[in-house]
């Protein structure tokens, strides 16, 4: 505990800034800018509530990103369990004091913002498991003893979130945990067995699904089933993206979105709006930007020394990838509408906060790449 402190203290603020991954920082900033334009378009080409608050949030959390980056990775390693426990308590708080909106209880009223702890749990679980597996020897990973705790910390929040109900986020939280476990060396066999077990339990799970969740899955399987009802979102999103063509309809000219055919355009369907206005090339640009961000995170994982850092970066990169891909597949009609925001692009403070926190810790891994965590 004493040894590393000297190394940490040897890094001045100038060193810290210079050791930032600038490509990653710039990519995040560019994505932030793009998201502001998209948000401006959803407001019909005016600075209205969504645009203003999105811009504010972006800069606030972008600032937070730097603060988090400059804090030693050792601190994050030490507080991992605490963060998880803190977020878990918040989730429990949601269960009892949460705000209900459109039939699901996801938010905590913090007076200055409505916090959605399930978004933070995406990072919290990765942190927890990264720390956990960092400590366990490679032989121990697959022993039943060391599987018990990971399963518990994974299942508990997933159940809490799934019953809010928020199927999309709970699946993504679970996916993040599974990735850490797998990267840490848990055998594929284990995942296969639990996969089969889950399939077996599927009918029971379905009986627990809310009617609207069942509808969503049925609608995904056949969007034309009810074109004005549940299939509406998928159909309209595909129309918007398809009608964008190669070059798009032009900034502020996305008729599907400004005539309100596009649902949830600020949040889950922000990519659709962008894709309609900027076409195939615009979509490709966004996709490349995300690919760049993900590859930079992986690169940081490669250079960071500690297994905690590696586990965290790789897992976060993969989880981030999943957030992007699930959202895009959803709006492209390749997955059911499960309600998952597109990182940084979508409107929503908690998601922005969680992503920036996650990226900040990644950046901390970069700055303190040579710092041993224990």
């Amino acid at each position: 505990m004493l040894q590393p402190r000297s190394i940490q203290s040897s890094l001045g603020i100038r060193d810290k800034i210079l050791s930032l991954d600038f490509i990653l920082v710039i990519s995040i900033f560019v994505l932030g800018l793009v998201s502001m334009f998209a948000m401006y378009s959803t407001d019909g080409g005016e600075f209205k509530y969504h645009t203003n608050s999105h811009i504010l949030r972006f800069f606030v959390f972008f600032g937070m990103f730097f603060v988090v980056s400059f804090i030693s990775i050792r601190f994050w390693h030490e507080t991992s369990y605490l963060i998880y426990i803190g977020v878990f308590i918040l989730l429990l708080g949601v269960k009892y004091f949460g705000l209900t909106s459109s039939g699901s209880k996801r938010w905590l009223d913090l007076y200055f913002m409505n916090l959605q702890p399930s978004e933070l749990m995406k990072i919290g679980l990765i942190l927890f498991l990264a720390k956990y597996y960092h400590r366990i020897s490679i032989e121990g990973v697959n022993s039943f003893r060391y599987l018990l705790l990971p399963i518990t910390v994974l299942i508990a929040p997933v159940i809490l979130v799934a019953t809010q109900p928020d199927l999309g986020t709970s699946i993504l939280i679970a996916a993040g945990g599974v990735i850490v476990a797998w990267l840490a060396g848990v055998r594929a066999k284990f995942f296969t067995i639990s996969g089969i077990a889950m399939l077996a339990l599927l009918p029971i799970a379905i009986s627990f699904l809310k009617p609207y969740q069942k509808t969503r899955i049925l609608t995904f399987l056949n969007p034309e089933r009810d074109p004005l009802g549940a299939g509406y979102q998928i159909i309209q999103s595909k129309i918007a993206i398809g009608s964008g063509g190669l070059f798009g309809k032009g900034f502020l000219n996305g008729s599907q979105s400004y005539l309100d055919y596009l649902p949830e355009k600020h949040t889950d369907f922000i990519f659709t709006l962008f894709s309609e206005e900027f076409g195939f090339f615009g979509s490709l640009f966004i996709l490349l930007l995300y690919a760049l961000i993900i590859s930079r995170i992986i690169k940081i994982g490669n250079v960071t020394r500690s297994n905690f850092g590696k586990l965290y970066c790789y897992s976060f990169a993969t989880a981030f990838f999943l957030y992007v891909v699930v959202n895009m597949m959803m709006v492209l009609g390749l997955l059911p509408i499960v309600g998952s925001p597109l990182p940084i692009m979508s409107y929503g403070g908690s998601s922005m906060m969680a992503i920036m926190l996650g990226l900040g810790i990644v950046m901390s891994c970069k700055i303190y790449k040579d710092v041993p965590v224990n």
């Binding site: 400590r135 366990i136 020897s137 490679i138 032989e139 121990g140 990735i179 797998w182 990267l183 840490a184 060396g185 309209q236 595909k238 129309i239 918007a240 993206i241 398809g242 009608s243 964008g244 063509g245 190669l246 008729s255 599907q256 005539l259 309100d260 055919y261 894709s275 076409g279 195939f280 979509s283 490709l284 996709l287 690919a291 993900i294 992986i298 994982g301 490669n302 297994n307 590696k310 586990l311 790789y314 993969t318 990838f321 891909v325 895009m328 597949m329 492209l332 390749l334 224990n374």
Partner: protein, 644 residues
Amino acid sequence: MLSPGSGNTVIKSKLISRRMFLISAAKAVVMVGLVGRLISLQINQATKYKSLSDKNRFREWKLAPERGAIKDFFDTKIASSEPLYQLHLIPENAKDLDNLFVRLKAILNITDRKVSYLKRVIKKQKPWEPVIVSENLDWSDFSRINLFLHELEGVEPIVSVARTYPDNSSAHILGYVSQISTKDLQTKEYLKDLAVPGMAIGKTGLERKLDEQIIGKVGYQRYEVNAYGKRIREIKIDQGQAGKSFKTTLDYEVQKYTNELLKDKAAAVCVMDVYNGDIVSLVSSPTFEPNEFVHGLDKAYWNSLIKDDKKPLANKALSGLYPPGSTIKTLVALSALENKIIRPLDTFRCKGKIELYGEKFHCWEKDGHGIVNLRKGIQRSCDVYFYEVARKLGVDRLAETAKRFGLGKKVLSDFIEERSGVVPNTKWKKKFIGQNWYLGETLHSGIGQGYFQSTPLQLCLMTAQIANGGFKIKPRIIFDAKNDNLRKYLKHKNENPNEPLPTDLLVSNFDLKPLFKNQEHINLIKDAMFSSSNEPGGTSYRHRFENPKYTFAGKTGSSQIKRFTEAQREAEVKQESLPYNDRDHALFVAFAPYKNPQYAISVLVEHGGSGGKAAAPIAKKVIKKVLERHELRRSVNNQIGESV
């Protein structure tokens, strides 16, 4: 438990990297898949989705075209499309609906019932969809609304176009327009692309007959709409095309005059040019207010129309079927002459009745007419004379002549309300009644009773074809400049009897069809009709014109409703003393002027009693009016004739 040996850590780190490499490979594949999906949607299927997006975006509203006008012979509009002032309300724009209605009630004459109805409509509709507060505001209300407009937020005065008729004098022949019904859409092919909500189409009369051409071409407004159907902005507007206007042969002045004459009576009048078949006037009474039908009919008014015994909605001139009564005697006599059954001077003795197989056949003159020849038979309308003639002639020969003169078939085409009537003969009875013909029925047919059924228009055509010397004419109501050749032909023949016909008469589409074998027979009938109207003892002698300019030759008639009982005959019961519904229908046909016939007229007065008393006075007045306007009409005809 903790084994943070550096060797172990390195192995672990390698395992992590290996597994990460696998994940990265999977990510790359998924990314390529996403790009592939984008290519499929945005490049391969872009056209399909662009059109779907446009289908979302644009919505078209059809615009009802302006209906073409219907004009009379002198180009006066008798049905036109006039500006109409309406009051619309857009609930979304109104701040306080209740308050607004209170204000509106103060300014306009709106009932509480209407207000609660409007409120119900508003609740059902989207807030930006207008409701019609008033369909048809008069100018003073409209200008008052405009004056207070600044304090009536949400209210929009709209100027629209609607069918308007100057009055109700020609309501039957013009017909009326009203909202398209589902049945119209199913049955009328031409409405397929025309159907615009709220558009009125012709339901009866000329409005219906001409509907397809007069209706015009539908325009449209294309709007960009949002997902909730609200119009965002207008993209394109096509006003459509106004319908074709039509000129008719009717004389609006005569229509008005006649309509006034027939007021309160259940009656019909037809006036026709005897050479070209132009229908100068066609009036049915009582009439109805056609303007009431344009904007959804008031229920009370509708009920009053259908409950009225005098049947204001029926066009009696076209669809009223009446036994022709004694007016048929002209044709009975003609048929007998043509078939050489009688000679003009052959006589019969009328003792007031004859007997046939024990059945008594009465003459209307109880004491009889004494010795009667053809001329006197028609002049006095002696029933016994015509019983005798009919008996000799037989019903089949009579029917053949009657049909030739236009009875038993429709006179005009494309009027759904027109009926063809009945000219009975032996075959007809066998076919439709399934019985053999009785000789007694021939006698009844000889005086136009029994199975005979005819419309006033048919009787007018019959008279016109006698008046013009026995030539077939094709009656028409839509003006046609290029068909006045019968008049020219007769003029040419009169002036130069021995010269050949000029070529324009030979090559034109004019088809000269004499309806007689010997024109002398026609002249005999005309002369007998003259005596009926102008010589003492004639049935309409009392209503004659002394002035030769107006002198007409006519024939009275009455259609029996109930045959008199022997007791009633003995008591000499008068028609006037019978209950209204039991009285005979009065008929009168005539042509004028006698010397140089121009127009034929038929008059029907339902339950009017005798033709001489009820129908002839009306005919006299109408004839005078028509003849007074004859020069004017000729001059227009000539002008047009020259320009063609």
